[in-house]
């Protein structure tokens, strides 16, 4: 009796699992599919009824348009379709994200070492850092904007980097404290007794052993900066410093030019490619990184 019940349940479970999985796959992947396919569509196929799931014609013109080259469909369109090239924005995003990440992880590692090994600060420092991590950008945007206005930093890379450091240094610190705590204290102590200085033990023992943690923290920091919008829109005015998310908003307000969702989708695809690549690398330590050590992935 018991066996039959279990077998029935196992079968039912399998069906339920695969149903849920399929529904979930559709739910999560369909929008992405739509985004990608729209970026290759001709303008006349973007919004049709019935909607075009498999376009009759795939064009690269949308991508060329946002890179600055008016070709194919857009050259024929008659009206002068010219968009700002996405390249300066890509550059800005890359530089701002990279510099913020490097500084955050470096300084974070130092601070994390002093918290984990040197008993610096205490619960209050920890709580303070945690709270910094959680500050909404909407709260700091106004005073930061005005302060940067007074020191003429608006619309520069530094404006964004400094603003992003506020949340990223605490984040990197908290993540790395967890990873450092994993490394047995005996290792450092052995090195110290052998005559190593603190700094040297830090560089030669702790850092290499916590490499996965450094990578995880770096990738998450990079992603956070790459994706950020509110501060980026508020603190920058031209392509000299605007980042990729801001570029996307350019399209949603240029709707007046007629439907140009093709290039908008193309911009979207370009923006998500690095993130998809990163998610592959970071899978293993993602949970640990995101919960700052509270849960081991």
């Amino acid at each position: 009796m018991v066996n039959v019940k279990i077998v029935k349940w196992e079968k039912a479970k399998e069906v339920i699992c695969y149903t849920v999985l399929s529904l979930a796959l559709i739910f999560y992947l369909l929008p992405l599919y739509w985004l990608i396919i729209t970026s290759f569509k001709t303008p006349s196929e973007v919004f049709t009824s019935p909607p075009v799931w498999v376009p009759s014609k795939l064009i690269l013109d949308n991508y060329l348009l946002i890179l600055g080259y008016v070709r194919g469909v857009w050259a024929e369109a008659g009206a002068i379709y010219r968009y700002q090239s996405i390249i300066p924005f890509l550059l800005n995003s890359t530089i701002v994200s990279s510099l913020t990440t490097i500084v955050s992880v470096l300084l974070g590692a130092l601070l994390a070492y002093s918290i984990a090994r040197l008993k610096f600060g205490g619960k209050s420092l920890f709580t303070w850092l945690l709270s910094l991590r959680m500050i909404p950008p909407a709260v700091i945007v106004v005073p930061i904007f005005i302060i940067f206005y007074y020191i003429r930093l608006v619309n520069t890379w530094w404006a964004l980097i400094l603003a992003y450091l506020i949340t990223n240094i605490p984040f990197a610190t908290l993540v790395l404290v967890g990873f450092f705590n994993d490394i047995p204290k005996e290792l450092d102590e052995a090195a110290l007794i052998d005559g190593c200085s603190r700094i040297s033990s830090f560089l030669r023992i702790v850092l290499p052993l916590s490499l996965p943690g450094l990578v995880a923290a770096s990738i998450i920091c990079f992603i956070t900066c790459w994706n950020e919008l509110l501060l980026a829109t508020a603190l920058t005015t031209t392509q000299a410093a605007q980042t990729l998310p801001v570029y996307t908003t350019v399209f949603t307000s240029q709707v007046e030019r007629g439907t140009t969702w093709g290039p908008a989708a193309a911009g979207g695809v370009i923006a998500i490619i690095p993130m998809v690549i990163f998610s592959f690398y970071i899978q293993k330590y993602l949970v640990r990184g995101l919960t700052m050590g509270a849960i081991r992935g």
Binding site: G108, S114, G121, P137, P143, L229, G268
Partner: protein, 300 residues
Amino acid sequence: MKKEKLLKTSVLIDKYARIIFSLPSLIILIPLIVFPTLYLIYLAFSRFDLTSMSKPEIIGLGNFIRMSSDKYFFGSLINTFIMVISSIILEFILGLSLALVLNEKIKGKRILQLVFIIPMMIPPIISGLTWRLLYDKFGPLTYILNMIGFREIDLIGNPMLAKIAIIITEVWRSSPFMFIILLAGLQAIPVELYDAAKVDGASPFQVFKHITWPMLIPAISIALTLRIIEAFKIFDTVYVITYGGPAFSTEVLSLYIYRMAFRFGDMGYASSLSYVMLLILTILSLILLRITKLERRMGW
């Protein structure tokens, strides 16, 4: 004797080391935090209208008095709470279901995991853009709804539907967060417990109620805490899909502050709004952190 001497010197080195290691980050962090915070407080008590003034002037409690009768402020608070609560509930259900499913023996687990975390990694504004494409009046979702029988439907133009649209997008974007944390929590449950339950002849529901759920509570509380605080800051999605419309139905707190500061130029009032948002969030986090004892889990 030698060991004592060595230990003593290492204590000395420790003292210096502490400063050397902590200083760089603190030198950068503290000014970056202290100045804006002080300035925020200063601005919150002043009037600074960019359209007609070039310097702030202090007006005491004026902004806060204005806020107490500002129905747009309360409206945006309510909107924010509604969206946070709805999306969290849905995200939890979705994340838990997926975690339970992926905890079983499924083929291609790793790839599925990878696929399911993608919505969380892409810039929120791109996820907003993606759904904006889907929600458009002439887009696929409207078409499908029309076919089912709902005619004359505009997912973005109708106040009630617009809220739902935003919530769905947020759920899509953030449920992977719940999913991976809950999955990690599930994977941490020792298999022996399940085996013991099997031997005892427990039904699947009993297993869930008495083993899975209790062991999962720490992970659940962490996921909920982090996610609630994050959800409160919602901005990007609304910015790109509805920009607060139609008729204020999707105006969230972050957006209201942003609009007040950068379109109306009313920096003083925007600062006082920010200040209140900070207070609300602090209280919220304190309550949540207390309940979940997050810090303890993180190593303290």
